[in-house]
């Protein structure tokens, strides 16, 4: 049996200032560090065990992963496959100004690179498939992945058997900062169980829906 926890990083400087981060690198804010610490302490007190933490090397994820790894005494492996989507020229853009930077289109398909030279939905889905497969090829155990909202959405697509859709029609799985999803995978029956999605420590309101066109 595999227990797989997919965790989004804590609040980053980029989240705070409201930019589309993609693969641009922002550290955690003090609040983000605290979110990670609280989660780590909570997991420690509940006796949560991981055999391995696999983290995106981007700072906001790796700092989150290190806080948890230190607290729970778990080794970390960095895997660039878990980096956030490459948003091309949109990377670093102010989220409130994105609508002006992206000319409206009648339709876009899932193969369109985002931001001119970024990853398409299919690119991202492909990367998420490879990253998930790599975990399932490891021995059964408990794995924590520390990563980012965009690619974690596609990892969920891989698990659930959903393909990326054209235009804005793909479902969005919300991950708050340090929100996490838990799965069980039974490799004998090849069945996935979704234990929780966007689980959070406290019931603080999730941040507002991302209204702009993420795909």
């Amino acid at each position: 049996m595999y227990l797989i926890t997919l965790l989004r990083h804590g609040e980053s400087e980029g989240n705070l200032s409201g930019v589309l981060q993609g693969q641009s690198d922002f550290p955690l804010t003090a609040a983000g560090v605290e979110q990670a610490q609280k989660l780590a302490f909570c997991w420690k007190s509940e006796g949560t065990k991981f055999d391995l933490i696999i983290s995106s090397p981007l700072l906001r994820a790796s700092q989150t992963a290190e806080i948890i790894a230190n607290c729970l005494k778990v080794p970390i492996e960095y895997d660039p496959a878990w980096k956030e989507r490459n948003f091309g020229r949109l990377q670093g853009a102010d989220l409130l100004e994105i609508d002006q930077q992206v000319p409206p289109v009648d339709f876009f398909h899932p193969y369109d690179p985002i931001g001119g030279n970024g990853e398409s939905q299919i690119d991202l889905y492909d990367r998420a498939s490879q990253a998930m497969q790599k975990i399932i090829r490891q021995p059964a155990g408990s794995y924590l992945v520390v990563s980012h909202g965009g690619i974690l959405n596609k990892a969920l697509y891989v698990i659930l058997g959903i393909t990326p859709q054209g235009h804005y029609n793909s479902p969005i799985f919300h991950f708050g900062n340090t929100g996490y999803a838990q799965f069980c995978y039974n490799s004998a029956s090849r069945q996935w169980a979704v234990i929780s999605l966007n689980r959070q420590l406290s019931n603080e309101q999730p941040e507002g829906l991302q209204s702009w066109k993420l795909d």
């Binding site: 698990i159 659930l160 058997g161 959903i162 393909t163 859709q165 235009h167 804005y168 029609n169 793909s170 479902p171 969005i172 799985f173 919300h174 999803a181 029956s189 090849r190 069945q191 996935w192 169980a193 979704v194 234990i195 929780s196 999605l197 966007n198 689980r199 959070q200 019931n203 999730p206 829906l209």
Partner: protein
């Protein structure tokens, strides 16, 4: 923008599974067999009510399966939050045929165990197939979106709510209980939004049972 404040354009939908029932407690296949809540199931529902009160949660309408375990859960929430309640058999649990009300052992002793179950096959000899359940859940989705945008609480059952997820996410029924299983603990809920102007579903949370942490299920 002022328009969006005064007339909601987004559907907010919470899918809630009933609290613990007598059938859950005894480990029975319930289906449409009608078991009441246990005291624990009532406590779970009340704990959720208190949580939602403290969060100032608001709904325009509660819609519930008429099966006792769901209806009783819905009544606790609806009367506590002072929201109207509608019952609709569309939200009942899967008709599981001759399995209704039987324990795991009784099912093994009295019913044949087919080696392979295709998604069109009646479960428990006379019950709903996976596809029939999926189609009913699809009608449930449609019935919600025939209503005006607003904030709705649906009180229902694990099997049907799983197919609701399949319907909105675009997952087809699969044979032999393959396909992902969305866990719903007793009195756990999932939070969804739907934007009809972009046809986009947002999944904000699944199996939230922060008000009842004592079991991981």
């Amino acid at each position: 923008m002022y328009n969006q404040i005064h007339t909601p354009t987004i559907y907010h939908i919470i899918l809630l599974r009933h609290g613990e029932s007598q059938g859950n407690f005894e480990g029975r296949h319930q289906g449409q067999a009608n078991f009441p809540l246990t005291d624990r199931g009532r406590d779970q529902s009340k704990a959720l009510l208190e949580r939602w009160k403290s969060e100032a949660m608001e709904f325009d309408l509660v819609i519930s399966s008429p099966l006792a375990r769901a209806q009783e859960t819905a009544e606790i929430i609806a009367s506590g939050l002072n929201i109207p309640l509608e019952l609709d058999p569309l939200w009942m649990e899967r008709d599981n045929g001759l399995m209704a009300g039987l324990s795991e052992e009784e099912v093994r002793e009295t019913l044949p165990q087919p080696p392979f179950i295709h998604p069109y096959q009646a479960i428990g000899q006379t019950g709903e197939s996976q596809w029939e359940l999926y189609l009913r859940a699809g009608k449930g989705v449609q019935s919600m979106l025939n209503r005006p945008p607003g904030s709705y609480l649906i009180v229902s059952h694990g099997g049907l709510l799983n197919m609701f997820f399949y319907a909105i996410l675009g997952i087809a029924p699969q044979p032999n209980f393959h396909g992902p299983r969305f866990r719903f603990n007793n009195s756990a809920f999932a939070t969804l939004s739907y934007n009809p102007t972009s046809h986009r579903w947002y999944v904000l949370g699944v199996n939230d049972h922060m008000h009842w942490k004592s079991e991981e299920g």
